[in-house]
Symmetry: C2
Subunit: 142 residues, 2 copies
DNA sequence: CTAAAACCTAGAGTATACTCTAAGTCAAGG
DNA sequence: CCTTGACTTAGAGTATACTCTAGGTTTTAG
């Protein structure tokens, strides 16, 4: 039920430096310490690190994550702020996914283009082919 | 057919500072300059900025983008490197999209949870409900 | 012709998120 | 008991990508 910082680093893939940094930034205000000063992580703390990872991976800066954790600590009076934050984050993710989709199509055009170019040994000729010109116009607007 | 740096900044949404920074970093080795030193951007240059934006938005660092531009300048001898780069980038995008999907499900769980919590005025009770416990176990593993 | 706006370079400063170092303390195995 | 490895803090250093400043030049509109 209690993990050292090194064990948590192995479990999560974060470095011990990063874990201490997160605590210093206020992202881990839960962590207990032994009388001699060693951090003791609980399973709950590791779950929190999972939530931090989720928010980080979806583009939230550490300050935003800290805000959430602070709200959490303030109890039920901040429920609506936290709900609003998650709604905003949902929107951010959806926007980012659409952007990735659009850009994936562009990259896949480039793959088709370069695949043909590698086969022919030349890019400039392939680019002139009607099929590629049409796709380029549709995807890049030129 | 020729744009000033300020016009390009408006067109692209990038700042003039950023455009000069990109040139300094080797991302815009095409840009012509007038005899008095002013940058003159062509439509082609603006298309390049579009490609830079695409790569940047899909997580490629400026160094990687510069590598691509350098390869482009070296001509058809680097076609296969460029193809490999785009294939790698396609994979990066797909991985990122899967990650976003997984994390979107977690955020949407939180929205449902907090929506119910706001209605009841308490988080701790809602968290105990079987429906939410089951979803939490499925999505977060605890 | 002049004043204001836009441009130039070189270099310093900022924000974010780590990442590492130094100097020391603590804990577990032989 | 003692060594080795893991831990501690405080603070410095790094990487990335801007962002801004100072001091000066060029362009453009009246």
């Amino acid at each position: 039920m209690g993990y050292s910082i090194g064990q948590v680093a192995k479990k999560t893939g974060l470095s011990v430096h990063t874990l201490r940094y997160y605590e210093k930034e206020g992202l881990l205000p839960f962590i207990r310490k032994t009388s001699s000063g060693l951090r003791v992580f609980s399973d709950d703390d590791i779950n929190w690190l999972g939530m931090i990872e989720c928010l980080k991976a979806t583009g939230m800066p550490l300050k935003g994550i800290k805000q959430y954790i602070d709200w959490y600590h303030q109890g039920d009076s901040t429920l609506s702020q936290r709900l609003a934050m998650f709604r905003q984050q949902e929107q951010n993710i959806k926007t980012k996914m659409q952007e990735l989709n659009t850009n994936l199509a562009k990259i896949q055009y480039k793959i088709r283009l370069y695949d043909a170019a590698v086969k022919q040994g030349s890019l400039s000729q392939v680019q002139q082919e009607p099929e590629f010109r049409a796709a380029r116009l549709r995807l890049f607007g030129h």
